[in-house]
């Protein structure tokens, strides 16, 4: 009906042809909103077949909900009535229901007394998409640049003007409102020492098309020195002439300072390690050498190349190598410090004593990273110790000869005076003999220590009844004491394996100590029993006791109880050291339990003889 209404009224077909070929959609509707014409673009735009829309009400094309539709239509009518035209973006709906935007122009048209609406619509969805993508890209870029603190700059070569992004301003600490000017102004911001290098790179990029990627220092507007990294591309015209340079600049001050301080600390380490008077080396987690300093090379007469990995083994004296290997493997496994005095062999055959210590390097999370080692040449010290030990041995021996004579003379005289009936003089000589025994015991201790130090303490191992030895020792010490009674407690006979004379020495030492350090008491208790396949001997006194803090050091060489007792109890501080060495060599243990002011109990164990022997 509507179609017939329109077509006969069109005087010429040409304008219709124009309408049909327009890229914008065109629709004509009656005053009350019924469509009387749509061109091909309109039908395509809305997804209808040719002429399908004719006769339909325009609201079929709207995406507005019914409640909005009336309001919007009224607004459009109002605008048309006052201005004769309405223009704006319109939300539309395709036949398949998909919404899209158009830019619409609606005009009213009176033709032969009838009113029509003419609507021209341009599809906006494509443009919207492009706009959105552009805006999105730019936004993403801005966020990325800001997050990376990357400043962007453009240098227009034609005008010589430089333009900066916000971040570039921030990097250079320049107020946003300031015009950054031309290339020549930029070079003034570059740190003096770096200007030539920067200009050289710029020229090479412009003239030789070399990549521009450079780190240099700039002096910011606030006077701070910063390291920046800049990468740039040169844009060229069709003739290859540079038109502009576009670059990105990043503040790398922190990274650069870290690099510099790392390099400095490495340099410090190298200098320190190169000039250190002690040998230094590093090992990896497998125990292979990864670094040695010149002093270590010198001490061991080995180069780094020779020592690398397991090469160091070649420098170690063959007799010491098995022991070193065993201890080294166990130190790595247990993650403990490796400490050992070993011999190294120089290429010319010289043997040097070195003291090697390797401390484990363990990461925070417990991973074993390797070791830090030191090597010290202790040959001089070892030789001096040997000389000292030889001297001590010699001195003790030489001292014993006259003491032997004196003792023999004293006893000879004692006998002669006794024979003559001069008991008084005889008793004086007897006292002299006691003092000679004290002197002999001191000399023996010195000799024992020198032997222990030289590793020459020889033991004569046999099986013997410990009870018998204890009784003998108690009797010998009891004779010398008028003040103390030595009680002996035992669970029956025990046969032990050891050096009888040396064990006797230990018992005697513990007994004389017990009496010496309990002047206010009158009792010493000796006990022996079996424990875990060992004979356990204890010597208990009720004397001054030993403070807890001193108990560990009691068995050290030259250790003497300090403080008020030092003057009261003379001695060389060798007795317990010798005892502990003897017991240790006999596969036993020695220890003390003591309460200050109440007394001490010294314990030692010694292996029982094997059954059936």
């Amino acid at each position: 009906m509507n179609n017939s209404l329109f077509t006969p009224d069109l005087p010429n077909t040409f304008p219709l042809a124009i309408l049909e070929h327009m890229s914008e959609g065109v629709s004509v509707s009656t005053e009350d909103g019924y469509i009387v014409y749509t061109n091909k673009a309109e039908d395509d735009l809305f997804g209808y077949a040719r002429g399908e829309l004719v006769g339909k009400h325009v609201t079929i094309q709207n995406a507005y909900p019914p409640e909005d539709n009336e309001r919007i239509v009224n607004e459009v009518i109002h605008e048309l009535k006052s201005n004769g035209v309405w223009m704006g973006e319109w939300h539309n709906k395709r036949k398949d229901g998909a919404a899209f935007m158009t830019f619409s122009k609606i005009t009213s048209l009176e033709y032969e007394g009838k009113k029509f609406w003419v609507c021209i619509q341009e599809d906006l969805s494509l443009r919207k998409e492009l706009d959105y993508r552009l805006a999105d890209n730019e936004h993403t870029m801005r966020v990325a640049l800001a997050a990376g603190k990357i400043g962007v700059w453009v240098w227009e070569l034609k005008t010589n003007k430089i333009i900066w992004s916000d971040e570039t301003y921030q990097i250079h600490e320049v107020e946003r409102s300031i015009d950054v000017g031309e290339y020549v102004h930029y070079t003034q911001r570059v740190y003096e020492e770096d200007v030539d290098r920067v200009m050289k790179h710029v020229n090479e990029a412009l003239e030789q098309n070399k990549p521009y990627d450079i780190e240099f220092r700039v002096l910011t507007a606030k006077g701070n020195l910063k390291w920046v990294q800049t990468r740039a591309t040169v844009l060229r015209d069709v003739d290859g002439k540079p038109v502009k340079m576009i670059g990105a600049t990043r503040d790398v001050t922190r990274k650069k300072n870290a690099e510099i301080s790392l390099a400095k600390s490495e340099e410090t380490f190298r200098t320190l390690s190169a000039s250190a008077p002690v040998g230094i080396f590093l090992t990896d987690a497998k125990g292979n050498i990864s670094y040695i300093n010149p002093r270590a090379e010198e001490i061991c007469d080995i180069t780094f190349a020779e020592a690398e990995n397991r090469g160091w083994a070649s420098a170690i004296h063959p007799d010491d190598l098995p022991g070193v290997s065993v201890d080294w493997v166990s130190a790595i496994k247990e993650r403990v410090e490796f400490k050992k005095a070993i011999r190294v062999r120089h290429k010319n055959g010289d043997i040097r004593w070195v003291y090697v210590r390797v401390a484990p390097l363990i990461a925070e999370h417990g991973e074993y990273l390797g070791g830090t080692g030191t090597i010290e040449d202790i040959t001089g010290r070892i030789l001096r110790d040997q000389q000292k030990d030889e001297f001590l041995a010699m001195a003790s021996h030489e001292l014993k000869t006259p003491v032997t004579s004196i003792k023999a003379y004293a006893q000879l005289l004692y006998k002669r005076f006794l024979k003559k009936g001069d008991d008084v003089t005889a008793s004086l000589l007897s006292k002299m003999d006691d003092q000679i025994d004290r002197l002999t015991s001191l000399i023996s201790d010195l000799l024992d220590v020198s032997k222990i130090q030289a590793g020459k303490l020889q033991l004569t191992i046999s099986e013997f009844l410990i009870n018998g030895l204890l009784q003998e020792s108690i009797e010998n010490v009891q004779i010398t004491s008028d003040t103390h009674t030595i009680d002996y407690v035992h669970d029956g006979p025990l046969i032990v394996t050891g050096d009888r004379e040396r064990v006797g020495q230990v018992i005697t030492n513990l007994l004389t100590n017990a009496i010496k350090y309990s002047p206010q008491s009158n009792r010493v208790i000796v006990k022996v029993g079996e424990k875990n396949g060992m004979a356990l001997v204890s010597v208990q006194d009720f004397g001054v006791g030993i403070p807890k803090s001193k108990q560990d050091r009691l068995f050290e060489r030259f250790y003497r109880v300090e403080g008020e007792y030092r003057e009261t109890f003379p001695g060389l501080g060798l007795g317990l050291y010798i005892c502990s060495e003897i017991i240790r060599r006999l596969q036993g243990t020695i220890w003390v339990e003591s309460v200050e002011g109440k007394g001490s109990t010294f314990f030692f164990t010694i292996p029982l003889a094997k059954e059936g022997i």
Binding site: H397, K400, T401, I406, A408, Y409, I436, K451
Partner: protein, 121 residues
Amino acid sequence: MKDKPLVMVADDDAGILNVVQLILEDEGFSVVTVSNGATRTRVEEVQPDVLLLDIWMSGQDGQEICTYLKSRKSTQHIPIVMVSANRDTAEKAMACGADDFLTKPFDIDELVEKVRKFIQI
């Protein structure tokens, strides 16, 4: 047959030789001392009833002398008591065939006892 048992004392220290001689003479022994390198020949010549032999003598090795004397028919019957300031050499003394061992400094009763042990009365 000798009147008194004869003890020979070999030591490089004159003080010790002197006092040991006095002690043993007091106990009724005859004593011959030797302090130079002639121990071996003197023992062969003198044929003592007991030899007190110091293990460490300058110019002479007590162990070597002991081994030598114990290997000779003319002297191997002579009891030898090794004397040393070093306890640890007891084993060495036994190893070279000595009959007993005495540690310096010693009690004279011990000395006399060790000598008397080897004298057949």
